[in-house]
Symmetry: C2
Subunit: 243 residues, 2 copies
DNA sequence: TCTAATCTGGGACAAGCGTACCGTTTTATG
DNA sequence: CATAAAACGGTACGCTTGTCCCAGATTAGA
């Protein structure tokens, strides 16, 4: 049995249990390359998918949970202190897991960061989808408001996300995730515009997403007080332009 | 006018000095580090003024040149390897100057980076101004083309610039430079639009600059092949929207 | 049961970092 | 010339980093 709850092996000096996370369902969603030493991502995925034919998979449960905890910690640290704050030691301490486990589950820091990036993108897209799907009012004013506010939550996390996105400009290994991010935004905006009655093609959608990116970034970085209303103004102008 | 080649001896309005530092990252601040041993950059401005009778000026000349060389090296390294690549040792080696000089001319790495950021922004704005002022054709197509291509040079440098800009979201000491950057872009775009016959207020200008930022960033990071034409398309759409 | 694979975690390593120390050289001024 | 200040530069300290090693615990399959 994979019961580790009352378990012995927890080292003496690691009281930090579960600092901040809200997820137990699918923390280890990874599309990245396989890990070197530890359990590779591919087998982890099919374990989640539920393949009863596979033999001994029960043991990996705890391992998967730990892996997820490490990723969670990496994401949190990225938000708090930026790219440079994601060190093996910081991640391990944050997750309440010994240092060596970080190199066991992720073959290198780069891989850890890459997978954290992927996770961050997934979460952000999910959250955007959720908050934008909740929109029922179809007035252009309301739509502008909603679009302009789509990113107005958890500023540190946004900073981390953009930081990683920018990093993708230098690291080809991150390019795929960066594209997934922009493509995801595009798809979401297209859906929202469509449901709001704007019949627009790819060109129009890109027009809006590009504008939102610029708005978003400037807002996150500079945090000017007038940012909010300005965002509404700009978005409204864009909506008028494509209608 | 004579020494401008390497580095503007600290432009008039940017005393990045800021004794009341806002950093939270640096660990051990042993004691007051004498508030900078080296030559104060702010006083360097008077060196350019034509006052040959001034006594001890020749000594400072070399010092200023070295300081500039260090900043140049920092900018180059930032472009090549990003924020993390700007280390004291790398900068010193790049500039052909001993390591200890870096701490002599800049009281800390943060200050070096901040000043490099300022220099980078100045150069970029200058270059943009120059390339956009050269535009004489006033057709909307040509204008869209020029605006869309305004940033299409020296991709690594752009990456470094954006990286620093993003860093300003975490480091209050960089906020001022970040604003100088966005404000500079705004002013340039306003000037270009004005000369092209677009009578537009601040709202319209911001609409365009925001869009350009989004375009710019995505182009620099993802470097998709279709980026160029897409940029033209998007910018043309924006111009149509404000006319 | 036994055995081999997997997982765990403490510790150590070399490399790189920012920065301070401190004697030496250069310069400006009395 | 003398002397103080400024500029210089070699070197070392203290610390953090990523990664590796290896012995012990746990588990899967025979």
């Amino acid at each position: 049995m994979p019961e580790q709850a009352n378990s012995p092996p927890v080292p003496p000096g690691t009281p930090v249990r579960d600092p901040g996370r809200g997820r137990a369902t699918e923390p280890v969603r990874t599309a990245g390359p396989e890990a070197g030493n530890g359990p590779d991502g591919a087998t982890a995925r099919e374990a989640v998918g539920g393949d009863p034919a596979a033999p001994g998979r029960r043991r990996q449960e705890r391992a998967l949970r730990r892996r997820g905890a490490l990723l969670d910690a990496a994401v949190a640290l990225l938000a708090e202190g930026g790219f440079a704050a994601v060190t093996h030691r910081a991640v391990a301490q944050r997750a309440g897991i010994p240092l060596a486990a970080t190199t066991y589950y992720f073959s290198s820091r780069d891989e850890l960061v890459a997978q954290a990036f992927g996770l961050l993108v997934d979460r952000e897209l999910t959250q955007m989808r959720a908050s934008l799907n909740a929109m029922r009012d179809r007035s252009p004013e309301r739509l502008a408001q909603v679009l302009a506010d789509a990113y107005a939550h958890d500023r540190p996390r946004q900073l981390g996300l953009w930081e990683l996105y920018l990093q993708a400009g230098r690291d080809p290994a991150l390019q795929g995730i960066a594209r997934k991010w922009t493509d995801g935004c595009e798809e979401i905006v297209a859906s929202v515009l469509g449901r709001a009655g704007y019949a627009c093609g790819r060109s129009e959608v890109r027009f809006v997403t590009t504008l939102l990116s610029g708005l978003w970034l400037e807002d996150v970085v500079e945090a000017r007080p007038e940012g909010r209303e300005r965002a509404r103004d700009v978005v409204a102008r864009a909506l008028k332009a494509i209608s």
